[in-house]
């Protein structure tokens, strides 16, 4: 795949909807690293990354008509697609291994081990590393909600806190995260 053309976001979306393969090449080459990072933050095993990313790019290509720019940027939409596929892939893997994928007990011990006072685990990268740099209560809700795909109700049960507290912590976590982006 050779990329000799650059695109603005609007031109890229338009070209992708016209099924322009040069645009798809640009999309892949420009975003492959970022989307790969999203995948390995959800599924650390790199051998699964090929399956997940391939399914994600195919989904993006085949569903580009469903992308609505009035609801957000293209990159945000693609990250959602990739993240959802990665989370489903991981749940499917646990399901096949006979683990109960609806057991929240797994996440209780997981988050307890994640919430270490020994600093940020050195194997974390990118956004996940930044999330683990947040206050513990903020890190927990983003770790469970964003990287593990739990709903607000499920987070409430895992952390044994009211649903309203979950919503407040998510809001404050995003505000704190955004300050770090700036």
């Amino acid at each position: 795949m050779n990329n000799q053309t650059t695109y603005t976001e609007n031109a890229l979306v338009r070209s992708l909807k016209e099924r322009n393969n040069e645009a798809f090449t640009y999309l892949y080459e420009n975003y492959k690293n970022a989307l790969y990072t999203v995948v390995i933050q959800v599924i650390p095993e790199s051998e699964s990354a090929v399956d997940v990313l391939q399914e994600a790019f195919i989904t993006i290509w085949k569903n580009i008509e469903k992308y609505d720019h009035s609801k957000g940027r293209l990159f945000t939409w693609m990250v959602k697609v990739v993240r959802n596929i990665a989370i489903n892939h991981r749940r499917s893997k646990y399901f096949q291994q006979g683990q109960k994928n609806d057991s929240l007990d797994l996440y209780v011990s997981y988050i307890e081990n994640s919430a270490s006072d020994n600093g940020i685990p050195i194997n974390l990268i990118g956004l996940r590393k930044q999330v683990h740099a947040l206050k513990k209560e903020h890190m927990q809700v983003l770790e469970l909600g964003y990287f593990n795909g739990l709903t607000q109700e499920e987070i409430s049960k895992v952390l044994d806190i009211p649903l309203g507290t979950v919503k407040t912590r998510i809001r404050n976590a995003i505000i704190e995260l955004r300050k770090n982006f700036s």
Binding site: V50, I125, G126
Partner: protein, 238 residues
């Protein structure tokens, strides 16, 4: 970031239309989120990159071929005129040769006609597509077989399923595709898929009534007692 409920999301979508300042704040956040992810991204390993390009090249190729045809259209017009002029000159000299070719084509055409009947759906099969009580299930390719596709039409009244293969490599003599239904997390074998049948429905029966998902795996000839998940080609769910 996928952290809000569907109600919250709907409310936000409604508010961002009404309040430009909210729209601006959301866009600014998305831009900073994107920049942050792009700046802190890990470099994709070469092995993953190569595997992905190989897997995705077949996806993009049909679009590429369309552009190739369009790009060459003008050239082909001139080519047709040149070929027509050359054919007039050569016609007298090549009549006997063309007659021999025609005979060969007739023989080949007979064989093609016999196989072509398998490529069109028999009229009786169309009633399956139009029956509203039959549940269609899209099956998607798994992993490196992402290009594979088939559709199943499940008649829960009879327990039969009708499978049409859109894209699936033919199995070898030593292998068979096997259909599995998943009930309460356990795989139940439905049977061997006769993948030599193309262009019409493959009928299978005894689908468990409470199955919620399906897979097609490639097993040793005769089938297996449990599915070999690493050889899953297609998966789908209701």
């Amino acid at each position: 970031m996928g952290l809000c409920t569907s109600e919250e999301k709907a409310e936000l979508e409604s508010l961002r239309v009404q309040y430009p300042e909210l729209e601006k704040a959301i866009t600014e956040y998305e831009v900073s989120f994107e920049q942050n992810l792009m700046n802190t991204a890990e470099t994709i390993p070469a092995s993953v990159d190569i595997a992905l390009k190989k897997g995705l090249s077949e996806l993009v190729q049909p679009a590429g071929r369309i552009y190739d045809i369009q790009a060459n259209y003008k050239k082909r017009n001139k080519l047709i005129y040149a070929v027509a002029a050359a054919s007039l000159v050569l016609l007298c000299c090549s009549l006997f040769y063309n007659y021999k070719l025609y005979q060969l084509q007739q023989n080949t055409g007979a064989l093609l006609t016999k196989s072509r009947t398998l490529e069109t759906l028999p009229p009786g099969d169309y009633k399956i597509l139009n029956d509203p009580s039959i549940t269609p299930i899209a099956m998607y390719g798994v992993g490196s077989h992402a290009i594979c596709r088939c559709t199943m039409f499940w008649d829960k009244r009879t327990g039969k399923v009708y499978i049409i293969l859109h894209h699936l490599p033919f199995s070898s003599d030593s292998k068979d595709y096997q259909l599995w239904a998943y009930v309460n997390g356990k795989a139940v074998s439905v049977g061997i898929v006769k993948d030599e049948i193309r262009g019409r429905f493959i009928e299978m029966q005894n689908i468990p009534a409470d199955a919620i998902s399906f897979s097609i795996t490639l097993e040793n000839a005769g089938g297996a007692l449990t599915p070999t998940e690493s050889e899953a080609y297609l998966r789908g769910k209701i």
